[in-house]
């Protein structure tokens, strides 16, 4: 008898789920508590919208660049794909990511996106993705270290050099800077470029203007600071830098956040944790900025019903009350991308955010002034993907850090490599 009932239920269930619009949501936030948080929101959404069935599938950052285009080619792409700006042009070029400017405008009128957030996804006359959250590099340090050394937190590059030198002592590296050919290094070197006025990679005609004195100045100061970094920095990604800071092996690091690691693995004294804007080149205070990465959702289907369902789900995520919980899947890492979102009480209520409120406020403030190479002032060309996917900023840096060429030669060789890459 039970079996019969079960059978009937199965049939009914499969009919009803057949009728529902299925939306697959690919993202790369595989840490279990992030997956759980997203699932909670999905469950709420699905039960409020019986005609839509959202499922999440977690991918790895390591392979997504191979997997997403392959899935498009094979017709197995998800309806929604979370990504970072360098990734979108590829999928836009393929005709996979759908233009969403109308939808974004609608969200914008409701919640107010920070302007720089949209820059990273607007080109070729369209907006290609819905910004979800922001991340911006800041300079992290321990206040007690600076007090002990009798110096102030750095504002300019010369302050920074002095601080790195002063804080370097037995077993402690003054500043942890990566030298890996990897995204993290792209980000750190670009954060110096921004602060010397070299934020533009392209001219307005799509040719490159990477090789200029401001860029060279940034590579030059990076090289000088790199001597105070740890010996294995040539192989670092975010995690190693953070561990170095948490274990007091590095006095300063450039990082999106250190909060959760600092809290769980380094004692978690909130009053001692300092975070400031990344120092700027001397005399370039007006240039002060940072690198920011706006994570976004691309809609990858042109099926009318699926597209509507996807939009509905994304609207749900962006809604205050849900939004704070959504980006607090990793408290203190993901920052609000809308005005309304940064006032959302579900964001500020999280215990970690409460404890590190002043740090989070500084991070948020820095991130709104962040920009990203290749996505500045409307000079955006889809060929930037070739530069960022290959980490050519970092590769250029290795020419001077590892191969010991002069910053000037490295930058000019880097320019050649980039020119070839965007052909």
């Amino acid at each position: 008898m039970n079996k019969v009932i079960l059978f009937i239920f199965t049939i009914l269930f499969s009919i009803s789920s057949y009728a529902a619009t299925n939306v697959t949501f690919w993202h790369m936030e595989g840490v279990p508590h992030r997956v759980d948080r997203i699932q909670t929101l999905i469950d709420e959404f699905n039960s409020a919208n019986p005609d839509i069935n959202v499922t999440q599938e977690v991918q790895n950052w390591g392979e997504i660049y191979a997997k997403a285009p392959a899935s498009v080619a094979a017709g197995t792409a998800p309806e929604i794909l979370v990504g970072i700006p360098d990734f979108t042009p590829i999928l836009a070029d393929m005709g996979a990511a759908q233009p969403v400017e109308d939808f974004v405008a609608e969200l914008d009128s409701k919640y107010g996106f920070y302007q720089k957030a949209l820059d990273q996804y607007t080109y070729n006359g369209h907006t290609w993705a819905v910004p979800l959250w922001n991340m911006g590099l800041s300079l992290w340090y321990r206040k007690s270290d600076f007090e002990a050394a009798g110096i102030e937190p750095p504002k300019t590059w010369s302050d920074l050099k002095k601080a790195a030198k002063a804080l370097t002592k037995d077993g402690v590296y003054g500043i942890g800077l990566p030298g890996n050919k990897q995204l993290y290094t792209d980000q750190t070197i670009y954060s110096f470029m921004v602060n010397s006025g070299a934020e533009e990679i392209y001219n307005s005609d799509g040719t490159l203007r990477f090789d200029n004195p401001e860029t060279v100045a940034a590579y030059d100061v990076y090289k000088e600071l790199y001597q105070y970094s740890a010996p294995d920095a040539a192989n670092w990604t975010w995690g190693e830098a953070e561990a170095c800071f948490a274990s007091k092996g590095c006095a300063m690091i450039l990082q999106f956040t250190v909060i959760s690691t600092y809290d769980s693995q380094a004692g978690g004294d909130a009053s001692d944790l300092g975070v400031i804007q990344i120092p700027y080149a001397n005399g370039k205070a007006h240039r002060a900025g940072t690198v920011s990465y706006v994570n976004s959702a691309m809609i990858m289907t042109d099926d009318e019903a699926k597209m509507e369902a996807s939009k509905k789900f994304l609207s749900f995520l962006m809604e205050p009350g849900n939004y704070g919980r959504f980006i607090n899947m990793e408290p203190g890492l993901f920052l609000p991308i809308t005005e309304a979102g940064s006032k959302d009480s579900t964001y500020w209520d999280d215990p970690v955010v409460v404890k590190y409120k002043s740090q989070v406020e500084t991070m948020l403030d820095n991130s709104t002034r962040g920009s990203l190479f290749g996505f500045t002032n409307g000079n955006t060309f889809t060929s930037i993907s070739s530069i960022s996917a290959q980490n050519l900023l970092a590769q250029t840096l290795q020419l001077t850090l590892i191969d010991d060429k002069s910053p000037k030669d490295a930058v000019s060789e880097g320019m050649e490599i980039m020119t070839e890459a965007i052909e």
Partner: protein, 276 residues
């Protein structure tokens, strides 16, 4: 004579020490570290004997992640790959060894040369191919690939084991009127059993450790294998070493447990069976 024995003893003790340091110490260190507090793991003053003890990393991974799903998937994929590999390679190895046929040598060498096509080369074409025949996101996709990587070497090992079986036994059976099928199932397989067992374990390991294809051909969480799942639970911007280490230990544990029971057959099957 005495001098030579001394040299031998010296060689033995130095190499034993090196082997223990190089091949066993890392495991000691990783396992003990996985029980250390997060502070101790990343501390700049490294400790060999742990100062702290915590189960928090294991707690997190066992109860807050999909570990058991990944484990189940890995077991299914590895066992199925193993069984299919063994069936195909026992048959092929027998054919190559006992039945001289036209193209025998060519097939034998071609099998080994299979490894001349790097996995990376096959990655995209296989993805497209599997998409066409609707095999993506299935255990079978991984099994097909694992069999490809395991069998060429498996055939070679098996062939060596079959060689050890004296021809006379088999011929005597034929004279008694046994069929080929009877000979294989009643004589060849039982006699080569230790060898077959070690080859089976080899196939299992090849599947158990495979990463690249498993990460590309599978996109659903419910089908991920342990290596891919383990790589994914670490956030992009942070490294939770304790989490990662306990995950590493747990991902190795099933094969290690397997080895507790069958390890000695693997090694004795392999070494006493005399691959030649």
């Amino acid at each position: 004579m005495i001098k030579e024995n001394n040299i031998k003893l010296l060689f033995l003790s130095v190499s034993l020490l090196l082997i223990i340091l190089i091949f066993f110490f890392p495991f000691f260190w990783i396992i003990t570290s996985s029980f250390k507090s997060p502070e101790e793991i990343i501390a700049t003053s490294t400790t060999i004997i742990p100062r702290s003890f915590t189960l928090e990393h294991y707690n997190k991974i066992l109860f807050n992640s999909d570990f058991f799903i990944y484990l189940k998937n890995s077991l299914i994929v590895s066992f199925s790959s193993m069984i299919i590999s063994i069936i195909l390679s026992v048959s092929a190895a027998y054919g190559l060894h006992k039945l001289k046929f036209y193209g025998n040598k060519f097939v034998e060498y071609s099998l080994l040369v299979t490894y001349a096509f790097p996995g990376v080369i096959l990655l995209v074409p296989i993805y497209l191919l599997f998409a066409k025949v609707n095999l993506l996101n299935s255990y079978f996709a991984l099994i097909i690939v694992n069999v490809l990587f395991a069998t060429p070497f498996a055939v070679w090992m098996l062939k060596a084991f079959f060689k050890l079986i004296p021809n006379e036994i088999e011929e005597a059976a034929y004279i008694d009127g046994a069929s080929r099928y009877i000979v294989i199932s009643k004589i060849i397989i039982p006699l080569a059993a230790p060898g077959i067992a070690s080859v089976a374990i080899f196939c299992f390991i090849i599947s158990w450790t495979e990463y690249l294809f498993a990460s590309i051909l599978i996109s659903g969480d419910h089908l991920k294998t342990l290596p891919v799942g383990l790589a994914g639970i670490v956030g992009q911007y942070q490294i939770d070493w304790g989490f990662l280490l306990s995950g590493a230990v747990l991902a190795s544990l099933p094969v290690i447990l397997l080895f507790v029971f069958i390890g000695k057959y693997f090694v004795s099957g392999l070494t006493e069976g005399a691959v030649k």
